[in-house]
């Protein structure tokens, strides 16, 4: 059983050995140094996707503040990174320059960084970065990186590689997952080595609120679409999950103002049949003489914040019993898919920080050892491969994702147990075996043996499919590792 700390230590050891092997090679040493620094950092979560797919809005929704997009006055940045800090501060740099602190002001969308006169206009291949320190609880364990939309476009794969190189995990936003999106995700998946497991990608269908013309049931339809898409083998092979969410509604819901709520409550007071005609189109909703009870500016503001679909949804929610701002905010966040997305990020990314960090580092190491092998270091490569084969967490994560999405179908009880044993409810041994903290060593041993035994016989049940047998093997491996760990720790 490789625990998170142990995994981290082993990766550190590999890094140290690699540093030793590559001493004298400046470029390689620099990359290893960077990898070592990143290994110690919090998880980097990139939000990527084509232009206008709602990346910055989602960043704001996740942080719970209006910070994105953070851009210098002279053009957009390639990567804007948001991290926790005691007070709002910002740095800005391009390419290999040293970061220098800049002042920032809030603008209508996001933050504007004053770069000063020294900056040159952005070149096409220049990588411009902004780092924003912002006090936020959401950023404590994760850094969120907002990416330039142009990176997800174009025929070449360099954009995708830049994004995937930048982050440990990626939220890929797209309106409807089509060929070019899949191509982008393909570029982020390696052909071999540690990057083969796409355990670091969640796809977000970000135009969920506009599905079927933005009817109040749009989100439900969108969720169905997402469920269907995540079961597609082609999509499942490229990401951990597909989630339908509306960053627009989610963000507005998280930041819902009291007067916004009041305006919505006022609107909800109208008769359904009276209000219906005005909710047909954005034009009608913001017409000057439309709804006398709510001033046109308020209606306009609501429309911009929530979108027409969001307004319809919010009014329906108020009518069906959301009587306070907090209540409405909560329900809207739920309906917008933000909650689901947050829990998916927490479960698949934040809780698996060590695994994802190890993946990033080992990918760098693997690439380095392949492209410029150090003399006489064949055994080093073999060692990494051994480590990777042993890094069972990747397989666990993939099986968890397959169970979540229904790509692998197990009987309900078995599925729940498998999810638990694979670490879906927490990666410690106690959590995996569902043991209370005060359980005795004997209990734990017997439970572990029982679980291993059950999963050893699982493939022998009549009518199991090959996918189910493979899943059972992986769960059995997890059980074996629990037993090994128990043995090693002499419990």
């Amino acid at each position: 059983m490789i625990e998170d700390e142990e995994l981290e230590q082993r990766v550190h050891r590999q890094l140290d050995q690699a540093k030793h092997a590559y001493r004298g090679n400046l470029a390689a040493s620099a990359r290893l140094e960077e990898a070592a620094v990143r290994l110690a950092e919090p998880l980097r979560l990139a939000v990527a996707g084509p232009p206008r797919s709602g990346k910055s809005t989602l960043v704001n929704a996740l942080i719970g503040d209006d910070v994105a997009p953070a851009a210098p006055t002279d053009g957009p940045v390639t990567f804007a990174s948001y991290q926790d800090g005691p007070e709002p501060r910002a740095w800005w740099f391009a390419d290999d320059q040293r970061p220098h602190q800049v002042s920032m002001v809030r603008t209508t969308p996001g933050l504007s960084l004053s770069t000063g006169a020294a900056s040159s206009p952005p070149g096409p291949d220049q990588t411009r970065r902004a780092i924003v320190e912002w006090p936020s609880r959401a950023l404590r364990r994760t850094r969120i990186v907002d990416t330039l939309g142009g990176l997800a476009e174009g025929d070449d794969q360099t954009g995708a590689q830049r994004v995937f190189h930048e982050a440990d995990a990626v939220l890929y936003l797209t309106g409807h997952l089509d060929e070019s999106d899949l191509n982008f995700l393909w570029a982020g998946r390696g052909l071999r080595g540690p990057s083969v497991f796409p355990v670091h990608v969640i796809v977000v269908l970000s135009r969920a609120d506009a599905t079927s013309g933005g009817r109040p049931d749009a989100m439900i339809t969108a969720r169905q679409v997402a469920r269907r898409r995540r079961r597609e083998p082609r999509v499942g092979a490229l990401c951990q999950d597909v989630i339908a969410a509306s960053p627009l509604i989610g963000h507005a819901a998280r930041m819902l103002h009291e007067d916004e709520f009041r305006a919505l409550a006022e609107l909800a007071r109208y008769q359904r049949t009276d209000l219906e005609p005005y909710l047909l189109s954005a034009d009608r909703f913001t017409a000057t003489d439309a709804i006398p009870g709510v001033p046109v500016e308020n209606r306009d503001r609501l429309l911009r914040r929530l979108g027409l679909g969001g307004v319809r949804l919010a009014i329906t929610l108020v009518r069906t019993g959301c009587t306070t701002r907090a209540d409405l905010s909560e329900r809207l966040q739920e309906y917008s898919g933000l909650k689901e997305l947050q829990s998916a990020v927490a479960e698949l990314f934040t809780a698996r920080r060590a695994t994802l960090k190890a993946r990033s580092t080992l990918t760098v190491l693997d690439h380095l050892l392949r492209t410029e092998p150090p003399p006489g270091q064949g055994d080093h490569l073999a060692e990494i491969e051994l480590l990777m084969a042993e890094v069972h967490p990747f397989r666990e994560l993939r099986l968890l994702s397959a169970l979540r999405s229904g790509r692998v179908d197990l009987p309900a009880e078995s599925a729940a147990e498998a999810r638990r044993l694979l670490g879906g409810a927490g990666t410690s041994v106690g959590e995996r075996l569902n043991m209370p903290a005060e359980a005795t060593a004997d209990d734990i041993w017997s439970e572990a043996y029982a679980a291993a035994d059950r999963w050893r016989h699982e493939p022998n049940r009549p009518g199991t499919t090959p996918a189910q047998r493979r899943a059972a093997e992986i769960v059995l491996r997890s059980c074996d590792m629990i037993l090994t760990w128990l043995d090693e720790t002499n419990l």
């Binding site: 409807h176 060929e179 013309g213 954005a282």
Partner: protein, 654 residues
């Protein structure tokens, strides 16, 4: 036409009897009668065939047939999820096209008027086969009318993958009764991000579906992307007017802003497109509620009016405009390779023949320059050689003479002459041979030096036989007789001895007479003998000296003679060599010049021929281009013709 004017200047173009202005329309037409679009179309098709572009000609012929039909086939195209199917559903107020939530349209659907609802799936023979025309019964698969989109999907799934298919749907609608046909299409791949495939795909779709008009959809909450602009610009080459419809206007608060920006973008790009914003969901609501105001708000009435205007305009304005655009596009296509050929011909000024001519001229110049050079070189070298050989001879003879001098300081010519004379002869022979060998070597070296002055491509210009050292010397030095020096004979010795002894006898006799001895006594006789001996010795020494001097003088004279003769011989030889070399190299130069002149003449002839051929080709191409441009002018005249009014532009829905 006979071939009597065949030759480089003869007209080598097509010798057809068709008049050159065959693109001109019917001569029976009144001169001021406006052109008909059919004339221009036919002329363009003929031009395509004449230029060997049968595929374009076929394609144009198909478009021509299409334009003569009363139907107006409207192809609805665009990126994925832009509301294409919904637009059609809303236009005809029936759910015939796919539900957008389920993966989008995969099978194109042709929606036309029918007295009672009917739907078939049509299997085409090949992807490029036309959609229009009679379909064999076995290729027509009837579809269930309920749940049409699922029926299409299920039926299509039963057929082998990649079968070219389209659905043929007939609905009883007044809107379609006039001949309007709507065609729903699968999304263009790559849009809105990338448009590389979409351009070709859009072309194939419009060609296959036989579209008369393209209606391009785009969501109202965004601007047209660059890739979409590329597709539209390309379509504008095939269609005189496009329609860009911004869909889902109800859901986009900023649709007016995007409408304005998109309109500006299209007009900046020179795409003749009318643009409007519509809302399918408002239209469906309006129809359901029977709300005329809402219907107007949806933008659809304006769209329908516009479509009906175009339908009415089809046989006349639309056809004319289409013919004008098509013929212009096609003619540009035809003219492009011709123009490229023309510029390429003009650019390749230094063709092979001309380059060869220039090279040959350069060679001739080189040769002329080298003539002067080698003559100078020869003269210089000969002068050097002369002075060198003279100096060399002098040095060598002086060496011989100094040896002779040394020899005769001790040796007695009278005694040693016999051994001296052969040595001298040998020395002189040696000298002569060495000198001559050296002379010949120098001459050979000189010949090579002169030959080096010739250009390297002249080949081996050295004389075939080089000068060899003559076996026999020109004239042997001959013997040298001993100088006639009188020898010291015995009587002379006696006389000299007596003359010397006389003084001694007297001297010693007088001295001894004082002692009383007679004058002749033994002592005086002894003294006389002493004196006589000395005289003889002195005399013989003086004689030896004289002999040596004489011998030296004789040898010197002899050697001088030989030197003079040798010098003369050497000079003669050098002159002879000079003359030989000069004659040889002059002959070589003349030969070379003759050869170069010959190749110059042929290169010149080649170059002339080539220039003539190129001019000829350029004339032909220009002629063809002129024809094309005349045709193109006609198409432009058609576009701006008096009969044509601009297809009424439509204001956007508000």
């Amino acid at each position: 036409m006979g071939n009597w004017e065949a030759g480089p200047t003869a007209y080598a173009g097509p010798t057809s009897l068709i008049p050159l202005n065959r693109a001109m329309p019917d001569p029976l037409r009144a001169a001021d009668a406006p052109l008909s679009w059919l004339d221009v179309m036919d002329a363009t098709i003929r031009a395509c065939s004449a230029h060997g572009r049968a595929e374009i000609a076929n394609w144009l012929a198909r478009r021509r047939t299409r334009m003569l039909e009363p139907q107006l086939r409207v192809l609805v195209a665009g990126a994925a999820k832009q509301g294409k199917s919904q637009l059609i559903n809303a236009l005809i107020n029936a759910t015939v096209c796919g539900v957008p939530d389920h993966g989008g349209t995969t099978v194109p659907a042709v929606i036309r008027h029918a007295d009672s609802p009917v739907a078939d799936l049509v299997r085409r023979d090949s992807p490029s086969a036309e959609w229009i025309g009679d379909v064999a019964l076995r290729d027509r698969i009837p579809l269930a009318l309920e749940q049409l989109d699922t029926a299409i999907l299920q039926t299509a799934a039963r057929l082998p993958a990649a079968t070219p298919l389209h659905a043929d749907i007939g609905v009883p609608r007044a809107l379609l009764a006039g001949g309007l046909v709507l065609i729903d299409t699968p999304p263009l791949t790559g849009l809105p991000g990338r448009g590389a495939d979409a351009v070709a795909q859009a072309r194939d779709l419009t060609t296959g579906a036989g579209a008369d008009l393209v209606l391009f959809t785009c969501e109202a909450n965004r601007d047209l992307s660059d890739a979409e602009m590329v597709v539209l610009t390309d379509l504008a080459r095939l269609f005189p007017t496009l329609m860009v419809v911004l869909t889902k206007a109800d859901y986009a608060p900023d649709w007016r802003h995007h409408l304005t920006r998109n309109r500006e973008r299209l007009s900046r790009a020179g795409v003749p497109a009318s643009i409007a914003a519509v809302s399918a969901s408002l239209r469906l609501h309006a129809v359901k509620a029977g709300d005329a105001g809402l219907n107007t708000e949806s933008g659809f009435p304006d769209l329908i009016v516009r479509l009906q205007q175009l339908l009415a305009a089809k046989p006349d304005q639309l056809a004319t405009a289409t013919a004008a655009v098509l013929s212009r596009t096609v003619l540009e296509r035809l003219a492009k390779p011709l123009r490229a050929q023309l510029t390429a011909d003009q650019a390749s000024e230094a063709s092979e023949a001309v380059a060869r001519l220039h090279a040959t001229q350069r060679r001739l110049d080189d040769l002329r320059r080298c003539t002067g050079r080698w003559q100078n070189k020869l003269a210089d070298e000969v002068g050097d050689l002369m002075s060198d050989i003279e100096h060399d001879l002098r040095e060598r003879t002086r060496a011989v003479l100094s040896e002779v001098d040394e020899f005769f300081t001790t040796a007695d010519p009278a005694k040693n002459w016999d051994e001296f004379e052969p040595w001298l002869r040998e020395s002189i022979e040696d000298l002569t041979r060495t000198s001559l060998t050296w002379l010949v070597e120098r001459a050979q070296w000189m010949a090579r030096k002169v030959a080096d002055e010739f250009p390297p491509d002249a080949g081996d210009v050295l004389p075939a036989e080089m000068f060899a050292v003559p076996d026999e010397l020109v004239d042997g030095p001959g013997g040298l007789d001993a100088p006639a020096v009188a020898t010291f004979s015995a009587s002379q010795k006696l006389f000299i001895g007596l003359r010397g002894s006389y003084g001694g006898v007297i001297m010693f006799g007088l001295v001894t007479s004082l002692t009383g001895m007679s004058l002749i006594n033994p002592i005086s006789i002894g003294g006389g003998a002493l004196f006589g001996g000395k005289s003889i010795r002195d005399e013989s020494k003086a004689l030896l000296k004289r002999r040596q001097v004489e011998a030296r003088t004789a040898v010197q004279r002899h050697v001088d003679d030989i030197f003079v003769r040798l010098t003369k011989d050497a000079r003669d030889t050098v002159r002879r060599i000079q003359r030989t070399l000069r004659d040889h190299f002059t002959a070589v130069t003349e030969d070379l010049q003759e050869a170069v002149m010959e190749s110059l003449r042929s290169a010149k002839a080649d170059a002339d021929r080539e220039v003539a051929a190129r001019d000829q080709r350029a004339r032909t191409v220009q002629h063809e281009l002129a024809q094309l441009s005349a045709l193109s002018q006609q198409s432009r005249a058609l576009a701006a013709g008096p009969k044509r009014q601009a297809i009424p532009a439509q204001r956007s829905a508000s």
